[in-house]
């Protein structure tokens, strides 16, 4: 590979990732930056029209208050999120998203996103917080607004960011980012005053159910590799709740969404013997008081019920689409027009957001009104926007945050000038697409304010940049050096392919950190052993080899996942209780322990060491 060219790009605010959070940040930052004559730049590893977790489309917007119809108030949402997270959330952050989110959704509609409407003109609800959309083009619409707001010359696509740059005179302050083009041999150096980390969560950290060619068939986007977490943690930002993960019941092998089936169609989850899993295991909930009491049941407890039934031999488990649709057809008095509409809505749910699930149904000749579909529990994912809550520890909004949660600018991490939004922010789960967009807006506005408040721009260190550039191209040098060591490229004592490294990582995490192979169970001895193996893998990552830019991208994505795995394992180890039992179980600390652990677990990677700490949970909204 020829040595790369280097292009330097100057900006005031730099947005990393063009998904929902990044597009929200772009929209809002562009608005305020105009008045301050600032330049806002967005960088994305693919094309923003189809990037991030919403690339495919969505059939629902899962975070919408409906304040204009008096449906919900932001404080209602905080109570819901707090319970779903078993008592732990950053209420200032959740409230902040909830009070703004409707405005973002109304803009989406004005821009051209089609909504299902009721007879009186309201958005059609799926559940208390969810509204139905015809969302195949949700992402291209949102991306169009972001591109318009920024100006096309400020959107850098097919560029993958691998490093953040600290201020050469102050390591606690951000100065830029470095990455490479996945299209030509070129390294990009972005010099800026503020950075918004807005890339997606981490998939592929754990071994998936799928094998072989199906490896990419996971619930959350496989291109979301956790780069945002790695960038922030290696810049020294304090991370929070990295032990928290998401395991969800989904249609087996297709990973189609279940929300509409559960909430709108009221389909039951039953085991092979026709027993309703929720009813059969209702008694479990009392063991997890006070969070297991009342409705709705928190996600990790619903997951636990399915897990228990599976362990008890109840599988296969089925979502009874047949019973639900037949009931709905009866309620519609078998009116052919209404039946046809219900069927169309059911298929659209998949076609909008998981077409592969529709293909699975077609391949098995499934008529959902006649045949139920199998449900399984996913492999674990590290996300901050869904019913998962890991990410960076950020400042809350000035008017809401207690002093322990406020340090100058909304959504700023503990590194000055480094902001976060969407999956990147911890403690504010359940924001989904609309809330991530809204959190991007909050970060975008705050980043413009921060950038304008700075005096002299931060200084980048050329020597440091040269060192990063050399590191970036290392996989090409490994490949060249290893070329003569074997008669075949894939079995070489001096080189690992990025796929080989990825599979090794997934095996370690699965077996020692509570993956599907370990029935989501782990313990101190397992984690200690897993960390030994992870550390050895970390050394071997320097032996990853690349033949082209696509391989180079994969090499750096493995590093993202590796650092997420490190943080996850260390957080799992530190929290000596089981708080989210359907997500993971510490067999050596199998119970909830509010006395010692009703707090956030935070970490900081500093000087090659991990510093762990407890941070207080502060209740803001009454019960």
């Amino acid at each position: 590979m020829i040595p790369p060219a280097v292009e330097t790009v100057e900006s005031d605010v730099l947005i990393l990732g063009g998904g929902m959070a990044g597009c929200g940040a772009a929209f809002e930052a562009a608005y305020w930056a105009e008045a301050r004559k600032q330049r806002v730049v967005l960088v994305e590893k693919s094309a923003i029209e189809r990037s991030g977790a919403v690339a495919v489309g969505l059939s629902a917007i899962n975070c919408y208050m409906g304040m204009k119809w008096g449906e919900n108030r932001p404080e209602d949402f905080v109570r819901y999120v707090r319970r779903d997270l078993m008592g732990l959330c950053r209420e200032d952050l959740v409230f902040d998203i909830a009070r703004h989110v409707d405005a973002s959704v109304h803009m989406f509609e004005e821009w051209g996103l089609p909504f299902f409407k009721t007879a009186d003109g309201r958005y059609q609800r799926v559940g208390r917080w969810q509204v139905m959309i015809h969302g195949e083009s949700y992402k291209p619409i949102v991306a169009e607004a972001a591109r318009q707001a920024l100006g096309a010359g400020n959107v850098y696509e097919h560029v993958f960011i691998t490093h953040l740059l600290p201020d050469a005179d102050d390591p606690g302050r951000i100065a830029g980012a470095v990455g490479f083009s996945v299209r030509e041999p070129k390294i990009y150096v972005f010099r800026t005053r503020a950075v918004i980390a807005a890339a997606g969560g981490a998939t592929g950290v754990f071994r998936p159910h799928a094998v072989g060619e199906g490896l990419g068939r996971i619930w959350y986007a496989p291109w979301n590799t956790g780069s945002t977490y790695k960038l922030m943690m290696l810049a020294g930002a304090e991370m929070s709740q990295f032990e928290h993960r998401l395991v969800a019941p989904r249609f087996k092998d297709g990973y189609g969404p279940v929300g509409m089936w559960f909430l709108l169609f009221r389909a039951a989850l039953k085991n092979a013997y026709g027993e309703d899993v929720e009813k059969k295991w209702a008694g479990l909930l009392g063991e997890w008081a006070p969070y297991g009491e009342g409705t709705p049941t928190p996600t990790p407890l619903r997951t636990l019920q399915l897990l228990r039934d599976r362990t008890a031999g109840g599988g296969p488990h089925y979502l009874r689409t047949d019973e639900a649709l037949q009931r709905m057809y009866r309620e519609a008095q078998q009116d052919p027009e209404k039946v046809r509409q219900i069927e169309s809505d059911a298929w659209e749910d998949f076609l909008d957001m998981t077409p592969a699930q529709a293909l699975l149904w077609a391949s098995e000749n499934v008529d959902p009104a006649a045949k139920p579909s199998e449900i399984t529990l996913t492999e674990p994912y590290l996300v901050g926007s869904h019913a998962g809550a890991c990410g960076a520890w950020v400042s809350g909004p000035e008017d809401l945050a207690p002093k322990e949660y406020f340090w100058g600018y909304n959504r700023m991490t503990t590194v000055r000038g480094l902001f976060a939004a969407g999956d990147s922010v911890s403690g504010s789960a359940h924001k989904f697409s609309s809330g991530s967009y809204t959190e991007g807006r909050l970060a975008g506005k705050a980043a413009v304010a921060y950038a304008g408040d700075q005096g002299a721009p931060p200084r980048t260190d050329d020597e440091h940049i040269h060192a990063i550039a050399a590191e970036l191209w290392q996989p090409f040098r490994v490949a060249e050096a290893a070329a003569g060591r074997s008669t075949q490229p894939d079995v070489n004592p001096a080189a690992l392919s990025p796929k080989q490294a990825l599979l090794r990582l997934q095996k370690i995490m699965d077996e020692y950190a509570g993956g599907i192979g370990a029935n989501y169970t782990t313990s101190r001895p397992l984690l200690d052993r897993g960390l030994e193996l992870l550390d050895a893998l970390g050394q071997d990552l320097d032996r990853m080899a690349a033949g082209d830019l696509h391989d180079l991208l994969r090499c750096w994505e493995v590093r993202d996942r590796y650092w997420c795995a490190q943080a996850h394992a260390r957080h799992l180890l530190y929290r000596e209780e089981t708080r989210w039992p359907g997500y993971y179980r510490r067999s050596d600390f199998p119970a909830l322990d509010d006395t010692h652990w009703k707090c956030f677990v935070n970490s900081r990677h500093h000087g090659r060491r991990w510093e762990m700490a407890k941070r207080p949970y502060l209740q803001i909204i009454d019960s």
Binding site: W32, G112, A145, G216, R217, P222, W223, W347, L359, K445
Partner: protein, 152 residues
Amino acid sequence: MPAFAHPERCDGCRGRAQVVCREICPADVMQLDSARGQAVNIEPDLCWECYACVKACPANALEVRGYSDGIALGASLKLHRGEAAIAWEVNFRGGTQKRFRFPIRTTAWGSIRPFAGLPPADLNELRQPGLCGEPRYLGVAALSRLSREQFR
């Protein structure tokens, strides 16, 4: 496979400024095989079957064959994405066919002017909690506030 190109239809976007599937693929798996002059999926096991390439292909040359570890052969899912709607054709392995059509956009592509009709940013508001377009877009008279006294 997951996404794959039909050899009789894919022209490698010859004459176009970009290879469309390569540009749009979020996973960087759709690439141009320069020897063939046609698109190939170079890493099917990191394809998400997201259909971004299928929807974007100007030659209607792309399709998805379900993952080999779980999906029976013989079914197919075809689509045509227009300006305002998408049409789907679900062909079952057993021969049944279902067709659906859903709206995708209520306005013209390229018509978004994100700040049209909004006042220019007022820098006095920069440290206040209100976002661009609020309270107008909120649908309620004012942004929800909690005073510190209220929650202490």
